[in-house]
């Protein structure tokens, strides 16, 4: 044991010697024009290592003098470590560091400008569909898998890391209206204009095998929307009525209808998993409980809502995308008025999806843009658009909350960063610290006009400015003032 430990020790010291030896060499080089005597002294004083180290480095020094070897300055290739950085005691006396506000203001301004400089949100475009992308679905277990259904009934499975299509199947005749992946991630469901619900396996069929659905349910009417329960083998469809299906049965276990003949979307609540919300064509949003025989409540708005999305972190909050260019966030217990109206789009909002953190949501609009809203902010913090992106029909926020996927009319799926200026990948400690600091600075000085101006500035086509400032034809005072929240709710039906 003794010999073993001694061997280990020698190994360790050898390693240590090597490291310090490099340093020592470097120092030696630095002072090579000085006298040898002083060098000796320097070695003895500088290197805290053992006498052996001293002797070795000295030997190396002599060796270097005689033989020409390839040598590089370690400063050029050895990264700075915490050991190299001298720990400097700081004096935090405020009188020694004056002008803190103005200095931080400058820093904040620079950070804001840099953010704008580095804001390059567009990552990739996935092309391959031969018609407009009508629906998207995230894989529940894999971050890199995306499913998309197009208007010609073709469904594609994408590998996002490779940015390529891994599987294509003709799922329906006509539109694919909805795609959803089962909670386990082994299969997915599609509904289409051909009045069928199909269940497919996630695995690609082997060579020569045909793509065939696991199950097919023939419905009586067209299905327009589809969603799967969070953790039960139950899914819901909407069309002329809202149906709750058991995966094992070919007829719905429940059907809800409430004087409406057409629904545009249905969504399960991901937290309180038995609740559902749906958007109907009579401008109403209807809530359901899967266990009850009747719907729960209905709120009728001035215009039709296209889709709705529940907040995955807040059980009773949902946001709906409305035709009147706005999004409305409701508390499902108090439907009398929305808790927030999100305005900024200049055309009908077609789709909305929450970030998995529940702090923000993204909306897709007919105005060819995607906007990101903080959940409790009336205006968007970000707008994404490209010249080639047409009406955005569907949008999804990836389940690691880093990316946004949008499918649009012109047959492309686009991959965006959720934070435009964020550096992707692993950050070093210092990078992260710096990012955090600049983020806080931006937040601190966000109300200062110069900073706000830079932070909010976006290059948008002219049409947006026209819409933004619109015209009002009414005489001031002729219409009673109503708050924005109250304005858009017609009635709540019990």
């Amino acid at each position: 044991a003794c010999s073993k430990t001694s061997r280990q020790l020698t190994e360790a010291t050898a390693a240590f010697n090597y490291n310090t030896h490099i340093n020592a060499c470097h120092k030696l080089k630095q002072v090579s024009n000085k006298r040898r005597n002083s060098l000796k002294v320097l070695l003895q004083h500088d290197s805290p290592a053992s006498s052996t180290l001293r002797s070795t480095s000295y030997v190396v020094f002599r060796f270097q003098m005689k033989v020409k070897v390839l040598s590089r300055n370690p400063d050029d290739y050895v990264r700075e470590t915490k050991l190299d950085i001298q720990r400097v005691p700081r004096n935090y006396d405020p009188s020694l560091h004056p002008f803190e506000v103005s200095r931080e203001y400058t820093r904040a301004l620079n950070a804001t400008k840099l953010e704008r400089v580095f804001a390059k949100p567009f990552l990739a475009s996935l092309d391959g569909h031969r018609d407009g992308v009508n629906c998207l679905a995230k894989h529940t277990q894999s971050l890199s898998t995306l499913l998309s259904g197009s208007c010609d009934g073709e469904l594609k499975v994408w590998d996002l890391t490779k940015r390529e299509c891994v599987r294509t199947l003709q799922a329906h005749e006509g539109f694919i209206r909805g795609v959803v992946v089962r909670y386990c991630g082994t299969s997915f469901f599609t509904v289409g204009d051909d009045k069928t619900i199909k269940q497919w396996t996630m695995e690609t069929p082997g060579y020569g095998e045909e793509e065939e659905p696991l199950n097919t349910i023939l419905g009586k009417t067209v299905f327009t929307g589809l969603d799967h329960h969070q953790n039960k083998s139950v899914f819901a469809t909407c069309g002329q009525q809202v149906d709750i299906w058991d995966e094992q049965r070919s007829s719905p276990i429940r059907s809800f209808s409430w004087g409406v003949d057409s629904f545009s979307s249905i969504r399960f609540n991901p937290v309180e998993t038995d609740l559902l919300g749906s958007c109907a064509s009579d401008r109403s949003i209807i809530l359901y409980d899967m266990r009850e025989s009747t719907p729960l409540k209905k709120v009728v708005m001035t215009m039709r809502s296209n889709t709705l999305c529940w907040n995955p972190m807040e059980a009773f909050h949902f946001t709906c995308a409305n035709e009147d260019y706005n999004l409305y966030t409701y508390d499902m217990r108090f439907l009398e008025k929305p808790i927030k109206v999100h305005m900024d789009h200049v055309s009908a909002v077609l789709d909305v999806d929450y970030s998995p953190t529940g702090q923000e949501f993204v909306s897709a609009s007919f105005d060819k843009t995607i906007r990101i809203f903080p959940k409790n902010d009336g205006h968007s913090r970000e707008v994404y658009h490209t010249k080639r992106m047409q009406h955005v029909i569907c949008v999804k926020w990836s389940s690691d909350s880093k990316y946004i996927l949008s499918g649009s009319d012109e047959m492309n799926i686009r991959l965006w960063k959720a934070n435009a200026a964020e550096k992707l990948g692993v950050l070093s400690h210092r990078e992260r610290e710096a990012a955090n600091y600049s983020q806080k600075l931006k937040e601190k000085f966000q109300h200062h006009p110069q900073i706000r101006r830079i932070a909010r500035h976006r290059h948008l086509p002219k049409i947006f400015s026209f819409y933004r400032f619109g015209f009002s034809s009414t005489k001031p005072g002729s219409v009673p003032v109503l708050s924005e929240k109250e304005k858009h709710v017609v009635s709540v039906v019990k």
Binding site: E104, Y105, S293, E314, D400, V426, P449
Partner: protein
């Protein structure tokens, strides 16, 4: 056919009535379907209508004939009727409720209560309300369902608000704690299988050793548990107190050591000695062994003293004294003192043993009363020659030495010696006398007891007689006599320094001798700087100074080089303002001249003052005279505009509020709005803030590490939302709810315990 359909209809209705309470809309759907089915059936049955019906009728009649009791024949349907019952009850023969009740009253099975209830019903004449319409019914159901759902969803309220307020949210929510898990969790189902393992585990179990890799053995855990909170508290309090006391004593000691007053120290020492003597006496009485130990200590001190050169008059100080001794009584005395100390310390403690023997002897032969010894002590103590270091003192010194640096101890000794010297400086004449006496006495003693130290006691009486006479003289002179340890003094051998006695027949002679000897040995070597001074020549002021300083410096002088001392001294030297040398001053001058030349034209202060005055003048109210001579009246040479007009057209600007830098001589505060800054300033109070002060304070607190410590920066720049790279964030699940509840309850519990413990305190 029509009848059949009717029957079916009624069936349907009853079904509706039965299941309506459960799920009406589903039923509603059924009804529709059934209606459709019914219609189909009707169509099919119309074909074979004729014969079937007759047959059926026959059958029914036959069946009716079977039951003899049957009173009502099945009625043939002849006309359209609204109500058609299964039992073919027509509207004509209605069955009353009262009829039924009548039968109930007869049946014994019905309870009295139901009977009573029925009677009450009979009496009341209110009609039963109509059932609710389908729409209303559904609405109520929806409402109930909604209330239920809303209530269910509301249980998330607390966790949602908690998350909204949270400073940081970390996603995914249900992260498992990283790091190694305890072995108990990892191998749960592991069992000992082989006989060897079983044996080992049985042994471990028997010895109460941890079988799994627990942190503590059962015994340790038990011991940890055994020390309950109260005990811990008490122990902690005790330790705190001890620490406080210790620090207090340390501080006190330090304070006392810093006190420069000689008198104070003298008194202190005296008290200490007395105390020690007393203790020692007690010790002798109670615990002779301990006393012996004490004596042993003294002996060791003596040995050390013998080994060292302390008090040998061979140091620098001693040498300087030796030089001065010729002329200065004080110096001589000081040297004497030193020697005395040395003698005291180096004298062999035969006495301690001999005393015991003697005591024994005394005890055996003739018991002398204590006061004899006491008297002796007094006499002895009055003896100035004997006065010197207390025999116990060396032990004290020794103790001190062990604690402090040896040099300091030495210095303390010398200090003491000097104190004594200083105090005795007054009574030099008396001292001389005493010395004479002493020397004589010693001679006598030598004569009397030249055989051995043990016999000294025999001659005591004689000495006593002598000393009584001496006493009178000594008592007058010695006011600050030190409480010497009489018991050692008494037996301090006459042979304590035979060689010295031989030499010191005369004090002065002895001194001179010593002086000579020292000179001969190492005067030139050790004191090379000191010029051999001509005694007659009046010393230069510098020399005088050095002579004055020497004793004071000598106090601090130590044997050997104390690194710390040397260093501190050097720093002191640096602190002393040096008189600038010629070269230095030149350089400085050069620099100053240089600077002056460089900034020759600048008179910054006056410039500033001028500028400030200018600004103040600008702000002062001015009188603008707008009178135009010759306007509205005659003008010309020698004519002035009228007073009224002048008053009318003279415009005074109002006095501005006092300047803010009015009382600040070195500041100019501009109160004008700076147009360069305005675009950068916030014009209105932003939303979450309630007043400008709040907003300003939020802006004023810096975030960066230039102004904050690392930890604060980390805390302040914590991002609000943290997500993990490549981790799927699942929606909130029920576990979170439980977790949140636990947290809340834990907080509440801790609060409760706090409130509970507070009154206990």
């Amino acid at each position: 056919m029509a009848k059949v359909s009717k029957i079916r209809k009624s069936k349907k209705r009853s079904k509706v009535a039965g299941s309506s309470s459960k799920k009406p809309p589903v039923v509603y759907d059924d009804e529709q379907e059934e209606d459709v089915c019914g219609a189909e059936e009707d169509v099919s049955s119309e074909e074979d209508d004729g014969e079937d019906e007759r047959k059926r009728q026959k059958l029914l009649e036959a069946i009716g004939a079977l039951g003899g009791k049957r009173k009502h024949a099945l009625a043939e349907r002849s006309e359209a009727a609204v109500h058609m019952s299964e039992f073919s009850m027509t509207a004509d023969d209605e069955a009353d409720l009262s009829d039924l009740i009548g039968t109930i009253e007869k049946t014994p099975a019905a309870t009295a209560q139901t009977k009573k209830h029925l009677k009450n019903l009979q009496r009341s004449k209110n009609t039963v309300e109509c059932p609710l319409s389908k729409q209303e019914n559904e609405r109520i159901q929806r409402d109930v369902a909604f209330q239920k759902a809303a209530l269910e969803v509301s249980r998330w309220q607390s966790i949602i608000t908690q998350n909204q307020r949270a400073e940081q949210l970390v996603f995914p929510l249900n992260q498992e704690p990283s790091g190694p898990k305890p072995i108990e969790q990892v191998v749960m189902g592991w069992e000992a299988r082989t006989p060897l393992e079983k044996e080992i585990f049985s042994l471990l179990a028997a010895n109460k050793q941890p079988i799994l890799d627990a942190v503590l053995t059962p015994a340790e855990e038990a011991s940890v548990k055994a020390m309950d909170l109260e005990q811990v508290k008490i122990r902690r309090a005790e330790r705190q107190k001890a620490r406080a006391l210790q620090s207090y004593y340390e501080a006190k000691a330090r304070r006392e050591r810093k006190i420069k007053s000689k008198k104070y120290h003298k008194v202190q020492n005296k008290a200490k000695r007395k105390e020690f003597v007393k203790q020692f006496e007690e010790l002798v009485k109670t615990d002779p062994a301990a006393a012996l130990e004490e004596l042993d200590k003294m002996e060791r001190a003596r040995m050390q003293e013998r080994m060292s050169l302390k008090h040998q008059n061979s140091g620098k100080w001693a040498k300087s004294k030796a030089i001065m001794a010729k002329y200065d009584e004080g110096a001589r005395k000081a040297m004497q003192q030193q020697l005395e100390v040395n003698k005291d310390l180096t004298q062999k403690l035969v006495t301690s043993l001999s005393k015991e023997e003697e005591e024994e002897g005394e005890g055996n032969t003739d018991m002398l009363p204590d006061f004899v010894n006491d008297a002796e002590f007094k006499q002895d103590s009055s003896n100035p020659w004997m006065r010197g270091r207390l025999s116990e003192d060396p032990t004290e010194m020794e103790l001190k030495d062990t604690m402090d640096v040896t040099a300091e101890g030495a210095s303390a000794v010398t200090k003491e010696a000097e104190e004594e010297e200083g105090s005795e400086a007054e009574g030099t004449e008396e001292d001389a006398l005493l010395r004479e006496f002493d020397s004589r006495r010693k001679q006598r003693q030598d004569q009397e007891s030249d055989t051995s130290a043990v016999i000294v006691n025999d001659g005591d009486d004689g000495v006593e007689e002598d000393q009584v006479t001496e006493d009178k003289v000594a008592e007058i002179s010695d006011e600050e006599e030190e409480g010497l340890s009489e018991f050692t003094r008494m037996y301090r051998g006459i042979g304590k320094s035979l060689e010295k006695d031989a030499g010191s027949k005369d004090g002065s002679a002895e001194l001179e001798e010593g002086l000579m000897r020292i000179r001969s040995v190492d005067d030139v070597d050790l004191l090379p700087q000191e010029t051999p001074t001509e005694p007659q020549q009046a010393p230069t002021p510098q020399h005088q100074k050095s002579a004055e300083q020497q004793p004071s410096r000598s106090r601090k002088r130590k044997k050997g080089i104390e690194l710390r001392e040397v260093l501190t001294k050097e720093t002191k030297v640096i602190k002393v303002p040096l008189a600038p040398t010629v070269t230095d001053s030149e350089e400085k001058l050069d620099q100053r001249v240089l600077i002056e030349e460089a900034f020759a034209g600048d008179d910054v202060i006056s410039d500033f003052a001028r500028e400030k005055r200018k600004r103040e003048d600008e702000g002062k109210p001015k009188v603008i005279d707008l009178t135009l001579p010759g306007w509205g009246e005659w003008g010309g040479l020698g004519l002035k505009p009228s007073k009224r007009k002048r008053r009318r057209f003279r415009i005074r600007t109002e006095v501005p509020p006092p300047r803010k830098d009015q009382h600040l001589p070195s500041v100019i505060i501009s109160e004008k709005r700076n147009s360069a800054i305005t675009p950068h300033q916030v014009s209105s109070l932003p939303f979450p803030f309630e007043n400008p002060a709040q907003f300003e304070s939020s802006i004023r607190t810096p975030l960066g590490r230039t102004w904050n410590t690392e930890r604060t920066v980390k805390k302040m720049t914590k991002p609000r939302v943290v997500t993990q790279l490549g981790a799927i964030i699942e929606p909130m699940a029920d576990e979170q709810l439980l977790k949140g509840k636990k947290k809340v309850s834990a907080r509440r519990r801790s609060r409760n315990t706090k409130t509970r413990t507070q009154p206990a305190k």
